[in-house]
């Protein structure tokens, strides 16, 4: 399911999300589920902070020499018998993949979890061309049968609860006995397994993402907790890896460092259950594996980020820690962000990929509390990068007129102390007088956003500076 862009309606999305009771119930588990586990995992590893530094440095180094590592990866992957394709944009990537599937006469493809596939709307494109894609990650399978996009980058169906899944399974798996018991999560899991097993065996092509592409060996690496990625890539005739340019890493040694921070940051695991390395297609002596191995490397606007301030965003290893710790994400969930990537990382990345005009709400919808940056394993300064977008928005006059005017009036005053002081003094005296009896306001003109939900404390009276001047008679 490709995701229709609703980021411009973030406010509306947020309101709906806040009123959605099942969603709120699911979201209440995000914080407690992830935060404590990550903290415990970090605590247990004395060198965790040092590893974060080195993870950042590895990614910085790679990005500084990306062309070199890209060439090296291509050379090594080819030498191992693989094919490497470069796609400038989403359309090109979709068509390359469709072409490979057609050449093999593919009817169905199984898919491991891939955010890039969501980004380029691959499933819709395959379906429109008569090829049936089947998501094999449980979360992705759930959202596929519901026709939804992911709401989290590592837990795509985190917005759902058990009852919703049961209802969906009864609706979609209509061939199974209706009286079966699906009240336990294990029963749901077993049913999904059974259904997916048939698909694994029938698939002609397996498509996965990649957590890393290793330049020195031409290897693609995926980490999963379900093992679905392994079946996806070893059983069919061909394995297609779909990855964006920032997945490159120089060496296996570098990968081992990054893996040590990835799972700990994501789920608090020391390692994910499965970490799978793929280099080329099946060799003569291999017991299994795909006959063909393709890597499609997608740019889709990323090389443009390399040159500017946003380069730091390309360090992202998609662990999800930033959204797991985000108060805004906890409140509204991933779908409210209106495109593929939610949370703080999405608030930086989305405007780069869909344009700041459509994505402008996202970097604004942050309190800048800084918790994302505090936990990001590759130390991406997410608030700073969101502020970068706010600067672009300001430069291009994209801010709503009322906000811009308010800001201009305030700036004008703040830059002119001689005017600011008497003006604020007068305003405060007035407010203090009106608010005296209650000590606060439940309604204030021009402050509806505040007083809709909270009282506004009345000021004490005269300003500090005026009182101080009266006491000290400062110059």
């Amino acid at each position: 399911m490709s995701v229709h862009i609703t980021s411009p309606q973030f406010k509306q999305n947020a309101r709906e999300a806040l009123a959605d009771q099942p969603l709120q119930k699911a979201l209440a588990k995000v914080g407690p589920g992830f935060i404590g586990k990550r903290a415990a995992a970090a605590e247990k590893l004395p060198e965790f902070e040092a590893l974060r530094d080195s993870a950042r440095d590895i990614k910085n180094h790679t990005l500084a020499h990306l062309d070199l590592y890209m060439e090296r990866f291509e050379e090594k992957a080819r030498a191992a018998g693989g094919h490497v394709h470069f796609a400038v944009d989403a359309a090109e990537a979709r068509n390359i993949i469709l072409g490979i599937c057609r050449d093999l006469g593919a009817k169905t493809v199984t898919k491991g979890k891939s955010m890039i596939s969501e980004e380029i709307g691959l499933n819709d494109h395959l379906e429109a061309n008569g090829i049936q894609p089947v998501e094999t990650d449980l979360g992705e399978y759930l959202i596929q049968i519901r026709g939804e996009g992911p709401s989290h980058i590592i837990a795509p169906a985190i917005h759902l609860n058990k009852e919703q899944v049961e209802a969906d399974f009864r609706r979609v798996h209509a061939d199974l006995p209706p009286e079966r018991n699906l009240s336990e999560p294990t029963a749901l899991l077993a049913e999904a397994r059974g259904k997916l097993r048939e698909k694994f065996l029938a698939a002609d092509v397996g498509i996965t993402g990649a957590n890393f592409l290793v330049a020195e060996t031409g290897t693609s690496i995926i980490v999963t907790n379900e093992g679905n990625g392994d079946l996806t890539q070893t059983l069919p005739k061909a394995h297609i890896v779909l990855a964006s340019i920032e997945k490159l890493v120089p060496t296996l040694e570098d990968v081992s460092q990054l893996l040590r921070v990835l799972a700990r940051s994501a789920t608090g695991q020391e390692m994910s259950v499965y970490t799978t390395f793929s280099t080329g297609p099946r060799r003569a002596e291999d017991p299994d594996g795909p006959g063909d191995y393709h890597v499609v490397i997608l740019d889709n606007g990323r090389s443009g980020m390399l040159a500017g301030q946003l380069r730091e965003m390309l360090r992202c290893i998609r662990c999800g820690a930033c959204m797991n710790h985000c108060p805004v994400y906890h409140a509204v969930g991933g779908h409210a962000y209106g495109w593929v990537y939610p949370g703080p990382m999405g608030s930086v990345l989305t405007p780069s990929l869909i344009g700041v005009e459509k994505g402008r709400n996202l970097p604004n919808a942050s309190t800048f509390c800084g918790r994302c940056e505090e936990v990001c394993p590759v130390r991406i300064p997410l608030p700073k990068l969101m502020r970068h977008w706010r600067e672009k928005e300001f430069e291009r006059h994209l801010m709503p007129a009322t906000q811009r005017t308010g800001l201009a009036v305030w700036s004008f005053l703040a830059r002119r102390g001689w005017l600011y002081r008497p003006m604020t003094r007068m305003a405060m005296a007035m407010l203090a007088l009106v608010g005296k009896s209650k000590g606060r306001f439940s309604k204030l003109p021009l402050a509806g956003g505040w007083t809709q939900y909270r009282d506004f404390p009345a000021p004490e009276g005269d300003t500090f500076q005026a009182q101080w001047a009266a006491r000290k008679n400062v110059r």
């Binding site: 919808a365 800048f368 918790r371 700073k384 800001l407 956003g449 505040w450 939900y453 009182q467």
Partner: protein, 265 residues
């Protein structure tokens, strides 16, 4: 008080626009605390550090306000603000505004190194270990985000609060999670901000405290406003007021005159 230096040091008090306009008592509390810690306090004419402009993407205004701020305060030994958010804005973000300007940079860096948030200044720079104040109540302390994450303020206010006679600290769950204020965020995205402050209010109440304290007036106004809209009686004050023993002003959002102070509610 145990200031670790004998020579009086000069402190320029950056009172912050919110304290200046909304709650001057916090400014006077800061003066009292700084003087007790052996500082000579001055209040140069001031407006704002520029944070609202900075976070709205208006670099030009931010830069102008930063220059104004530096000119007004750079002659003091230290610059102290009763706000982690404003002190953090200056210390961590001012240098970003002058990148690539060798004429400015050394001056900006010299200036930024002198800027401190009030409570951490007292504890870390002046070596204050206890205050002479009394407060009859159980307080819970909210860690405002910028102070916590940009300046590492967490233990200092709790340590000093522990020295206040009659005061008990009761921690709330998730004291280090944002209250949903976020400057202009709270009016740009009122629904989301409300959802966040609702959770915060529930955590505050769960502490069982009768008083909520924090080091940033913006967050305090947000939390006080929410608690009062919900009809809660918990008192809300800036931490400096309690540390300075100023109990004669009503709590945030409460009318004068009230004699509920100093009694458990």
């Amino acid at each position: 008080m145990a200031p670790n230096e004998q020579r009086p040091v000069s402190v320029g008090l950056f009172v912050t626009c919110l304290v200046d306009t909304q709650r001057p008592s916090v400014g006077f509390a800061a003066v009292r605390l700084l003087e007790a810690a052996g500082c000579t306090v001055s209040v140069p004419r001031q407006t704002c550090c520029g944070q609202p402009a900075f976070n709205s993407g208006d670099r030009t205004t931010t830069r102008a306000l930063a220059e104004q701020m530096i000119a007004a305060f750079e002659t003091f030994d230290y610059v102290v603000a009763p706000s982690g958010s404003c002190a953090g804005m200056i210390r961590t973000h001012y240098p970003e505004l002058f990148v690539g300007e060798p004429d400015w940079m050394p001056r900006v860096e010299r200036f930024c190194a002198k800027v401190h948030e009030l409570v951490s200044f007292l504890a870390d720079v002046r070596g204050v270990t206890h205050v002479t104040a009394a407060y009859d109540g159980t307080v819970t302390y909210h860690d405002s985000c910028s102070g916590l994450r940009e300046l590492g303020i967490q233990a200092q206010p709790r340590r000093l609060l522990a020295s206040v006679e009659g005061l008990t600290v009761a921690e709330m769950p998730d004291s280090d999670v944002c209250c949903g204020f976020g400057g202009t965020f709270c009016v740009k995205y009122p629904d989301v901000s409300n959802a966040i402050v609702e959770k915060k209010a529930a955590n505050i109440l769960a502490s069982g405290a009768d008083t909520l304290l924090a080091g940033d007036l913006g967050c305090l106004m947000n939390m006080a406003g929410k608690l009062q809209r919900e009809g809660r009686t918990i008192r809300v004050r800036h931490v400096a007021e309690v540390l300075a023993g100023i109990g004669d002003t009503p709590p945030i959002g409460q009318p004068k005159p009230q004699s509920v102070e100093g009694r458990k509610s």
